[in-house]
C-alpha cells in the first residue's frame, strides 16, 4: 500500500518539476544559512562559517540530484529523454527520417489493413448472440463434403437431435421473383428459411416480429420477413412495411417483420419466407440436397458431443433409407470457421506477402541506420568517453529506432484506414460481418505491436554495433572511420536476406500469374466472343399455361434472331459459368446400378432448339432437339461427351435409354438422340461435369437465359433486345444483360486481383532489395575511393575495377538468389490449392524469375561499379 502511494507521488513528481525544484533549492538554502548562523555563533569568521557549512553539506548539487531521483521516476525520465533525443534526430535529418518513416509506414499500413480484414472475417465474433455456440451442419457423402442437406433428412435430424437449442435450415440459393413497381417490372430476391432461423442466430427484427411456429407448418398463410434495404426501397421506412403484402411468384405474402440493416447471413436477399415441410423447395425428396443447417448448441454441450449424437442419427437414417442415405452423414463445424472457408487462403497469402515486404523494408532501414551509424561514430564515441555506459548508448539508439517506428506506425494506421476500404475489393471478398471503416482496438493494438517489433527489428543491429566496446578506442585513433570487417558482413547479410525474400515473393507472384494466364486461356467448350447473355422471367400467374410460355420464347427467339447483326439466338435454363444449377441422379435404364444409384448424378439443363448452334457447342453425333420433342412425344435427351462415356463407355449412346430421378414417384426415362461437346459449367477452372440437356418443350420453365451470337460488339444490341422483350409483354423484364466475355472476366476476377496484388508487392520487394544492394555497394565504393585510386595508379584498368565491384555485388545477389530458391521450393507448396495447370515448383516460373532478379541486381550493381571505374587516381589520392 505504502509503496503504491509512494509510486503515485513519484509519478506526480514528474509533473511541475520547476516548482518542486525551486522549493528544494530554498529548503537547502535555509538549511545552509542556519548552519552558517550556528557557525558564526560558535565564533567563526563569516568566510570560515560559510566554508565550513558548505563542506558539511557534502556537495549541494549531488544532493539535489539524489533528491530529484527520489522525487520522480528516474527510469521513466531517461526513457522520455531518449525519445526526445530520438525526435531531435528526426528533426536534425528530415530527409533521412522521411525516407525511413514513409517506407515503414507503407509496410505497417499494408499489414494493419490486411490484419483488420482478417480480424473482421476470422477473429471478430459474428454479430449474433453468443456466436461461439453456433455451428454449421453440412452433409457429407462417403466422407466428402456435399455440403447441402435434403429437407426430409433435415426434419429427421431436427426431431431426433436434442443437443441443440435451435436447429434451423436455410435454402442457400437466392430465388427471384418479379414485382411490379412504379418504374415498371423489378426483380426481388428471396429464399426459404426454417421459421426459427432468426431465433437460432439470435437477431431481433428491427420492426415487426419473428415467424411463429404455426407459420412454419404446411398450409399456413403466406408471410415473409423482409430486409431493411428492401423495406426502405419499396415502402420508404422499415416500420411501414409491416402489415403490407406483396406477391412472390403471383401469391400475395404478408410482411410480418423487417430485419435490421446490419443483418447479413449468406447471400443478402430481399425477403425470407418460412420453409414448410412438403411445400415448394422443401417438398423435394430425400435424394435432393438443397439446404444448409445452422444449429445453436445447448449451453454446456460440446461440438464433439453434438457430432456424436448426429452420427448416431445418421446411422439410423442409413438403415432406414438405404437407397438414398448410404454413407451419408452430417458434419458439425463452428459457424464462423465454416463460413470463412475458401476466403482464408487469399487472405493469408496477402498477409504473408505484406509481412515479407515489411521485413525487407526493415532490412533496408537497418542497412541505412548501419551506414549512418558509421557516420555518427564520433558522436557516439564522445558519449562513451564522457561516461555513458554501453547499455545506455544501446538504449538511446534503440529509442531512436523506436521513435522512427512509432511515427511510422501512426502514419501507417492512417494509411490503413484508407487501404482497409480498398483491400476487400482487391482480395475479392465481401466483408459483410462487422462494419468496415472502423478500427477496432485489436487492430490498433496490432499496429502498435507491429511498430514496436519493426523498431526493434531494424534498431537492434545498429544499437549493438553502435554500443560496441571499440568506441573509445576508435575515438582515440581519430575521427576518421574505417570499416571493420564485421560491420560490412552484417550489411551484406541483410542484403542477401532481402534478395532471398524478394525472390520468394516474386516466385509466388509468378506462379499465380502463370496459373491465371492458363486459366484465362482455357477453352470452356464453347465460343465466348461476340456472345450477349441475359435472362427473361415470365410472371408465374399470367403464364400458368405451359403452351403460353413455349409460344413466348419461340416467338422471342425468332425476334432476336431477326435483329440486324445477330447470327443466332440460343435459349437455355442455365448458361455456363454464369448460372448455378442442380444435378439429378441418372443412369443407364437398361443396366441400372445395384447400390449407389444416387451417387451418380448429371447436371440438368433445358434448351430450345438452336442453343448448341448459337453458343458453338459442337454436335458430335445424332441431332439437336426439334419441334417434335414436345409434350406428348417420347422424352428425349442430348448428353455431353463425358456423360456418354460415363454411362455407355465405348458403345454408341444414340438410341439408348437413360433413367433420371426427378423427384417424382417413378424415375423418368429418356431416349438419347444426340451427343455434344463437353462444356465447363460451373467455372473455367473446373472440368466439365456429366451433363444432360432436355428439351424445353418438354420442361417449359418460366425462366430462360439467352445467348445471342452477334457479328459485332454484343453490348451494342442490348437496347434492342430489351425493346423486343417489352414489345412482347410489358410486364416481363430483361435482366443481367452482359457479354459472355465479361461473365468469364468477372468469374476470374478473384484470381486476377490476387495475382496482380501479389505481383505489386513482389515488385515493391524487388525494388527495396535492389535499393539495399545498391546502397551497400555505393557505400563501399565511396569508402574505397582511396584504395581504388591506388589500384588505378598502379595500372589497374577500368574494366578490372568495374569487375571488382560487380563481382562483389553479384556475389551478394546470387547468394540471396540461391537461398531464395531453396526456401521457395519448400514454401510454394502452400500455394498448391490456388494454382491451376502448373505445379508449385513450376520450373519455367523459377527460371524466369531468377533471370529477372539477376538482371535487376546487375543493374543495381552497375551504377556504383561505373562510379568506381570513373575514379580519378589523382583526385582520390588528394582526397586524403
Amino acid at each position: 500500500m505504502r509503496a503504491v502511494r509512494a509510486f503515485l507521488f513519484r509519478l506526480t513528481g514528474l509533473l511541475d518539476k520547476g516548482r518542486k525544484d525551486r522549493e528544494m533549492t530554498e529548503e537547502f538554502e535555509s538549511h545552509l544559512q542556519m548552519q552558517i548562523e550556528e557557525n558564526l555563533r560558535a565564533g567563526m569568521t563569516p568566510a570560515e562559517a560559510r566554508r565550513e557549512a558548505l563542506l558539511k553539506s557534502g556537495g549541494l548539487e549531488a544532493s539535489k540530484e539524489s533528491c530529484r531521483d527520489r522525487r520522480g521516476l528516474p527510469l521513466i525520465e531517461t526513457v522520455v529523454r531518449d525519445f526526445a533525443y530520438g525526435l531531435r534526430q528526426v528533426r536534425r535529418s528530415p530527409g533521412f527520417a522521411a525516407v525511413v518513416v514513409v517506407t515503414l509506414a507503407l509496410g505497417i499500413g499494408a499489414n494493419t489493413a490486411t490484419f483488420s480484414i482478417i480480424d473482421a472475417v476470422l477473429l471478430k465474433p459474428l454479430p449474433f448472440r453468443d456466436p461461439a455456440r453456433l455451428v454449421l451442419a453440412r452433409c457429407t457423402m462417403g466422407g466428402a463434403l456435399n455440403p447441402l442437406v435434403s429437407a426430409p433428412d433435415y426434419y429427421d435430424y431436427r426431431e431426433q437431435a436434442n443437443y441443440f437449442e435451435g436447429f434451423s435450415a436455410v435454402f442457400p440459393i437466392p430465388l427471384d421473383t418479379t414485382l411490379q413497381g412504379d418504374a415498371g417490372p423489378e426483380r426481388a430476391t428471396f429464399t426459404y428459411v426454417a421459421y426459427d432461423l432468426f431465433h437460432t442466430l439470435g437477431v431481433n427484427p428491427a420492426a415487426g416480429r419473428w415467424f411463429t411456429p404455426e407459420e412454419g407448418r404446411p398450409g399456413a398463410s403466406n408471410v415473409v420477413i423482409v430486409s431493411e434495404r428492401f423495406a426502405r426501397r419499396r415502402f420508404g421506412t422499415p416500420g411501414k412495411a409491416v402489415g403490407t403484402s406483396f406477391p412472390i411468384n403471383g401469391t400475395p405474402h404478408e410482411v410480418v417483420g423487417v430485419m435490421p440493416a446490419t443483418f447479413h447471413f449468406l447471400d443478402d436477399v430481399d425477403a425470407w419466407a418460412p420453409m414448410r415441410r412438403g411445400e415448394s423447395v422443401a417438398g423435394a425428396p430425400r435424394q435432393f440436397h438443397n439446404w444448409l443447417i445452422v444449429g445453436r448448441l445447448k449451453p454446456g454441450v460440446s461440438r464433439e458431443g453434438a457430432q456424436r449424437q448426429l452420427d448416431v442419427i445418421s446411422k439410423r437414417l442409413e438403415r432406414q433409407y438405404p437407397a438414398s442415405n448410404a454413407s451419408k452423414a452430417l458434419q458439425v463445424d463452428p459457424l464462423q470457421a465454416a463460413l470463412a472457408e475458401g476466403r482464408t487462403p487469399p487472405l493469408f497469402l496477402l498477409m504473408a506477402a505484406v509481412g515479407l515486404v515489411l521485413l525487407i523494408a526493415c532490412a533496408n532501414v537497418a542497412g541505412l541506420q548501419l551506414a549512418r551509424g558509421s557516420v555518427r561514430r564520433p558522436e557516439l564515441a564522445l558519449r562513451a568517453a564522457l561516461g555513458a555506459s554501453r547499455v545506455r548508448i544501446a538504449r538511446q539508439l534503440l529509442a531512436e529506432s523506436l521513435t522512427f517506428a512509432l511515427l511510422s506506425g501512426v502514419l501507417g494506421v492512417a494509411l490503413a484506414c484508407w487501404l482497409q476500404r480498398l483491400l476487400p475489393v482487391v482480395v475479392g471478398l465481401d466483408v459483410n460481418s462487422g462494419s468496415p471503416g472502423r478500427m477496432g482496438w485489436q487492430v490498433l493494438l496490432f499496429a502498435l505491436a507491429l511498430s514496436i517489433l519493426t523498431g526493434v527489428l531494424f534498431g537492434v543491429a545498429p544499437a549493438l554495433r553502435g554500443s560496441s566496446s571499440h568506441l573509445i578506442r576508435e575515438f582515440a585513433v581519430g575521427a576518421r572511420t574505417t570499416d571493420t570487417k564485421t560491420r560490412m558482413s552484417l550489411r551484406d547479410g541483410l542484403v542477401v536476406g532481402q534478395v532471398a525474400v524478394s525472390l520468394i515473393l516474386l516466385i509466388g507472384a509468378g506462379l499465380l500469374i502463370r496459373s491465371f494466364m492458363r486459366l484465362a486461356g482455357t477453352n470452356p467448350g464453347f465460343e465466348i466472343q461476340h456472345l450477349l447473355t441475359g435472362e427473361v422471367r415470365l410472371p408465374q400467374a399470367q403464364y400458368a399455361d405451359r403452351n403460353r410460355r413455349i409460344r413466348f420464347f419461340d416467338g422471342l427467339r425468332e425476334d432476336l434472331a431477326a435483329i440486324h447483326g445477330v447470327k443466332a439466338a440460343g435459349f437455355t435454363s442455365r448458361l455456363p459459368i454464369r448460372d448455378g444449377g442442380g444435378d439429378y441422379p441418372a443412369w443407364d435404364a437398361d443396366h441400372p446400378p445395384a447400390e449407389s444409384a444416387y451417387q451418380r448424378t448429371a447436371q440438368r439443363l433445358h434448351v430450345l432448339p438452336g442453343y448448341f448452334d448459337a453458343v458453338h457447342i459442337p454436335l458430335l453425333a445424332g441431332r439437336d432437339f426439334g419441334r417434335s420433342d414436345r409434350d406428348n412425344a417420347p422424352l428425349t435427351m442430348v448428353v455431353n461427351e463425358r456423360m456418354a462415356r460415363t454411362l455407355f463407355a465405348d458403345r454408341s449412346p444414340l438410341g439408348r435409354r437413360v433413367s433420371v430421378d426427378m423427384g417424382g414417384p417413378q424415375p423418368a426415362t429418356f431416349e438419347v438422340v444426340g451427343v455434344v461437346g463437353d462444356v465447363r459449367l460451373s467455372s473455367v477452372g473446373d472440368s466439365a461435369p456429366v451433363t444432360m440437356y432436355l428439351s424445353y418443350y418438354q420442361f417449359p420453365d418460366t425462366k430462360l437465359r439467352f445467348a445471342i451470337r452477334t457479328d459485332r460488339d454484343p453490348a451494342s444490341i442490348g437496347q434492342r433486345v430489351r425493346r423486343l422483350v417489352l414489345a412482347r409483354d410489358r410486364t416481363v423484364p430483361v435482366e443481367n444483360l452482359v457479354s459472355m466475355e465479361n461473365v468469364i472476366g468477372d468469374s476470374l476476377a478473384p484470381q486476377r486481383t490476387i495475382s496482380v496484388t501479389l505481383a505489386l508487392f513482389a515488385a515493391v520487394a524487388l525494388m527495396l532489395a535492389s535499393i539495399g544492394l545498391y546502397g551497400v555497394l555505393a557505400y563501399s565504393v565511396s569508402r574505397r575511393t582511396h584504395e581504388i585510386g591506388v589500384r588505378v595508379a598502379l595500372g589497374a584498368s577500368r574494366r578490372e575495377v568495374l569487375g571488382l565491384v560487380l563481382k562483389r555485388g553479384m556475389a551478394l545477389a546470387l547468394s540471396g538468389l540461391a537461398a531464395g530458391i531453396v526456401a521457395a521450393f519448400g514454401l510454394t507448396r502452400l500455394l498448391k490449392d490456388m494454382l491451376f495447370g502448373i505445379g508449385p515448383n513450376d520450373p519455367a516460373t523459377f527460371m524466369a524469375v531468377s533471370i529477372l532478379l539477376t538482371l535487376v541486381a546487375a543493374l543495381a550493381c552497375a551504377i556504383p561499379a561505373r562510379r568506381a571505374a570513373k575514379v580519378d587516381p589523382m583526385v582520390a589520392l588528394r582526397y586524403e
Binding site: A6, E23, S30, M34, Q35, E37, S57, S66, R70
Partner: protein, 114 residues
C-alpha cells in the same frame, strides 16, 4: 578531525521519526543537528542522505511537510509526524529492539569469556 560515520538509509528513517516524535515539528536543519547531538557527534548527516530520506517518508505518508518561519525569522520547511508515522515508529522501534536484543546476545557471552 575524527572520521564521522555516515548514517545509512534504513536507520536514518527510524532516527528521523524518533526525533520528530520527541521534538514535534522540526525543519531539516534541526533534525540533522538533533541526530548529530543525540549520537554524541559520532554521526554526520549530509543533505544527500537526509533530504531523500525525508522525501521518501513524505511520499509514504509517515511525515507531512509545511512551510513555516523559524526562530530567527527564516522561512523553513517543517516536518511533523503523521498518525501513520507514529504507528510505523512504534512498529519499527519494536523490531529494532528485538533485532538488537538478538544481536547483543551473540556478543555478550564472548565478552564474558574473554
Amino acid at each position: 578531525m575524527a572520521e564521522k560515520a555516515d548514517v545509512w538509509q534504513g536507520t536514518l528513517a527510524l532516527m528521523v521519526l524518533k526525533t520528530l516524535e520527541s521534538m514535534g515539528a522540526l525543519h531539516g536543519y534541526g533534525i540533522a543537528r538533533r541526530i548529530e547531538q543525540t549520537s554524541g557527534g559520532l554521526l554526520a548527516v549530509r543533505y544527500g542522505t537526509l533530504y531523500p530520506a525525508l522525501l521518501k517518508l513524505e511520499q509514504e505518508g509517515y511525515v507531512s511537510a509545511e512551510w513555516g518561519i523559524s526562530d530567527n525569522n527564516r522561512r523553513a520547511k517543517y516536518y511533523t509526524l503523521t498518525r501513520a508515522g507514529k504507528k510505523q515508529l512504534a512498529k519499527e522501534a519494536r523490531e529494532w529492539n528485538r533485532t538488537t536484543g538478538i544481536i547483543s546476545r551473540f556478543f555478550s557471552p564472548s565478552e564474558e569469556a574473554s
